[in-house]
């Protein structure tokens, strides 16, 4: 009897252990929906619009992956996560991927067991301060009260920046961007610090954006990108190549307008391979042959996503800067589809 109990226990434990390591792509396809972790609300990057539809630069990455894996850009279940909950949500399998301004760092990549598939926004940490305070440089912030989102790299950069410049500050920890905005506007902190794209996005939602200035100093490198769990390389490859595809499409001039036309055949072999007219790239990834056609036709290429959500014609008004194609002096450099 003892033996059978023991064996039974082993069997139960074995079953329980099996659940976690299943393939994410199979799970997503079986579920028919992608669980995508986004931020709790950052205008231009991920925020629900007036119809309750999630919109934004990070949201587009989720939709692109859903279009590739499921053929349907709307088959996404958006899971809002805070700086503190995002990694637990990903590690526990609550979300299949994170697309939420997450900085690629050594610790997160190696020690926390995550896989950064690439970089979709090159950013750096900045400071925003009301114009009336008359501060022109971050070096004048000695003694300031600083609002900061907890559980972020900015928290650590801030400590390093003030310590290395022999300045003091008073941190006011907040959970979300919305909370930080409320505290900052109420004057409970002098300065708000986060990634400078986040500052621009936040400032765009203010009643009077011109009353606030973003300091010229960028105190850190913040390469932001989508994250998946470590260990499921097939899923990681899929998300990575969707991102690369978005960037390559811009470089190759494939847009949401002309993708259908180009899919019928062109004389550019690179485009032929990417759009699935040549080679077996989709099936190798475990998805449809026309996956990139689905992606581009539903969300557009990288440049289109950028211009639509955070570009210079939007209220957020971010310049391409480092996020231009390498041919235009930026850092975006898509690896070849070959």
């Amino acid at each position: 009897m003892k033996k059978s109990v023991f064996l039974g226990t082993i069997a139960v434990a074995g079953l329980a252990a099996g659940a976690v390591s299943a393939q994410t792509l199979d799970e997503v396809q079986a579920r028919g929906e992608l669980n995508c972790g986004v931020s709790t609300g950052l205008a231009g990057f991920s925020a629900p619009d007036s119809d309750g539809e999630w919109q934004g630069f990070d949201v587009a990455v989720c939709r692109a992956v859903a279009a590739a894996a499921l053929g349907d850009p709307s088959a996404v279940n958006f899971v809002p996560t805070t700086g503190q909950t995002r990694f637990t949500a990903l590690a526990s399998g609550e979300v299949d991927m994170l697309a939420r301004n997450t900085t690629w760092t050594f610790t997160r990549d190696v020690d926390l067991r995550f896989e950064f598939v690439g970089i979709n926004y090159y950013d750096g940490q900045g400071f925003m301060i009301p114009r009336e305070l008359g501060v022109t440089s971050a070096m004048e912030l000695d003694g300031a009260t600083v609002c900061i989102q907890t559980g972020t790299t900015t928290e650590l950069n801030l400590a390093d920046f003030f310590a290395s410049n022999n300045m003091d500050y008073e941190p006011v920890p907040v959970e979300t961007n919305a909370e930080a905005q409320q505290q900052y506007l109420a004057g409970a902190c002098d300065v708000y610090t986060t990634d400078s794209s986040g500052l621009a996005a936040t400032r765009a939602t203010f009643e009077d954006p011109s009353a606030h200035v973003i300091m010229p100093e960028i105190i850190s490198k913040e390469p932001l990108g989508p994250v998946v769990r470590h260990g499921d390389n097939e899923w990681g490859d899929l998300v990575r190549w969707v991102l690369v595809g978005l960037i390559a499409a811009e470089e190759l001039g494939v847009t949401s307008d002309n993708v259908m036309e180009l899919a019928e055949g062109t004389n550019n072999p690179s485009i032929e391979r990417m759009l699935g007219n040549e080679g077996e790239f989709g099936p190798i990834l475990g998805i449809d042959q026309d996956w990139m056609v689905n992606v581009i036709s539903s969300v557009g290429n990288y440049g289109e996503i950028f211009e639509e959500n955070i570009g210079e014609d939007t209220p957020i008004g971010l310049a391409r800067g480092l996020n231009a194609q390498w041919t235009d002096g930026g850092l975006l450099y898509a690896w070849p589809f070959r």
Binding site: F87, A91, E155, P173, E175
Partner: protein
């Protein structure tokens, strides 16, 4: 008739384990015990295999590595170069600070509200009913956020105190500033400190911790002297009572001797240490100097105290009602005034009923203080359970430590309160 029937031979069949009442309860317990063990084993096994799948190990080594983040309210020395263990300790002290402050204020509020709710004055009794029902029936988190929002939105900014014609001004003779970043009150520091810290350290405005940078040794000495003088005063009281019982006359001036014994030694120590007040003043972006009571602390403290106070009020009311009306009538018949009746006759008896549920509300308050995250108060949930876990990815270890801390704290509180309960319990001989 000496013949006895032979007892039937002890034959044991397996079915007896279920059908024989002598064995049945034992069987059930053994089976339940095995099931519980299996469940525990399954959970443990699950943790181990999941950790393996994630490629994570189980290691508390992260506590010794550099934390890298700053904490605004710290009762002990801490910087971003300190370890995660130190950060956890800072958080623990912050938790204990708000728990102690909260329990003290909640008890005062609760006792007052509970007694007043039984008042014969209609308005007072109804007002207290509104307070109790209002706070008891609305979630604590809403009160915390509401008080915090009022503190940040309705109070002036530090910059409003600036200029020739400031929009806001400090109160109580320019000694207290109420701002949307917290309340700044004067701080006591010692110019002839035993710890040997000099003025330079104290005037360091950035060190705006709740207990400012005065040496802990000074405060320790003062508390020691204070406790000793209270013991002295009680000895005088006992002597006077004994004298009164022997002679019928209480020695003249016994009360003033007690007051003197309590006050004089402490004042002498204060003066000897060169106690001086450090007033808050505008420095740079903020107020500097003095003690900075942050809005997060005030909001959390008030909300916890008001909320728990409402429950304590009901406990106190129940305790008072549990004392038979005959006791009040007897006290009145002896000529005691209502005030003294309450203090000398009713409350001491009511305490027996009040203490046990009071313990559980102290525990609740302590555990509820983990809602601090809502207003960014850096308690142990925010440091160890929040930022440290997030920066190191040690969820399991961090949560275990956090649970252990709350468990130990709760057990200590209930242990201490149980000792107190024993002292007020009905003595049965």
């Amino acid at each position: 008739m000496t013949s006895m029937t032979e007892p039937p031979a002890e034959s044991f069949r397996l079915s007896q384990l279920i059908y024989d009442t002598r064995y049945r309860s034992m069987t059930i317990q053994v089976v339940a015990f095995i099931l519980i063990l299996l469940a525990l084993f399954w959970l443990g096994r699950n943790i181990v295999s999941n950790l393996e799948d994630l490629g994570k190990d189980f290691d508390f080594g992260f506590l010794g590595s550099r934390a890298g983040y700053d904490i605004n309210q710290r009762l002990i020395e801490y910087s971003n170069d300190s370890t995660h263990a130190r950060a956890a300790l800072v958080g623990i002290l912050n938790t204990l600070l708000v728990a102690v402050l909260g329990c003290a204020l909640a008890t005062v509020l609760g006792v007052i509200a509970g007694v007043l709710r039984l008042s014969n004055n209609w308005i007072v009794a109804r007002l207290m009913a509104v307070y109790v029902e209002g706070f008891r029936n609305i979630p604590l988190l809403l009160w915390i956020i509401l008080i915090f929002a009022v503190m940040t939105e309705a109070t002036p900014r530090p910059s409003d105190f600036r200029g020739d014609r400031p929009e806001a001004s400090m109160i109580l003779g320019d000694s207290v500033a109420i701002t949307n970043r917290g309340v700044y009150i004067p701080n006591v520091f010692f110019t002839r400190s035993l710890g040997g810290n000099e003025m330079a350290e104290v005037t360091d405005s950035a060190e705006a911790t709740v207990i400012a940078s005065s040496s802990g040794l000074d405060w320790f000495v003062i508390i020691l002297v204070f406790v000793a003088s209270i013991l002295g005063a009680r000895a005088i009281g006992r002597w006077a009572t004994a004298k009164q019982e022997a002679t019928g006359i209480r020695p003249a001036g016994a009360f003033w001797m007690q007051v003197g014994t309590v006050v004089v030694p402490s004042v002498i120590v204060f003066l000897a240490l060169g106690a001086t007040l450090d007033f808050p003043g505008l420095r740079g972006f903020n107020f500097g100097g003095g003690i900075h009571l942050r809005n997060s602390l005030i909001a959390l403290w008030l909300a916890l105290a008001l909320y728990t106070g409402a429950f304590i009020a009901e406990i106190v009311r129940a305790g008072i009602l549990s004392v038979s009306k005959g006791q009040t009538e007897a006290a009145f018949a002896l000529g005691l005034r209502p005030n003294r009746t309450m203090n000398l006759v009713i409350l001491p008896q009511a305490l027996r009923v009040i203490i046990p549920p009071l313990i559980s509300h102290y525990l609740n308050l302590t555990k509820n203080s983990s809602l601090a995250i809502a207003v960014g108060y850096m308690d142990v949930r925010s440091t160890l359970g929040g930022i440290t876990i997030n920066q190191t990815g040690r969820e399991l270890e961090g949560m275990l430590l956090l649970g252990l801390f709350y468990l130990v704290t709760s057990l200590v509180i209930s242990g201490v309160m149980n000792i107190y309960n024993k002292s007020v319990m009905l003595k049965e001989r």
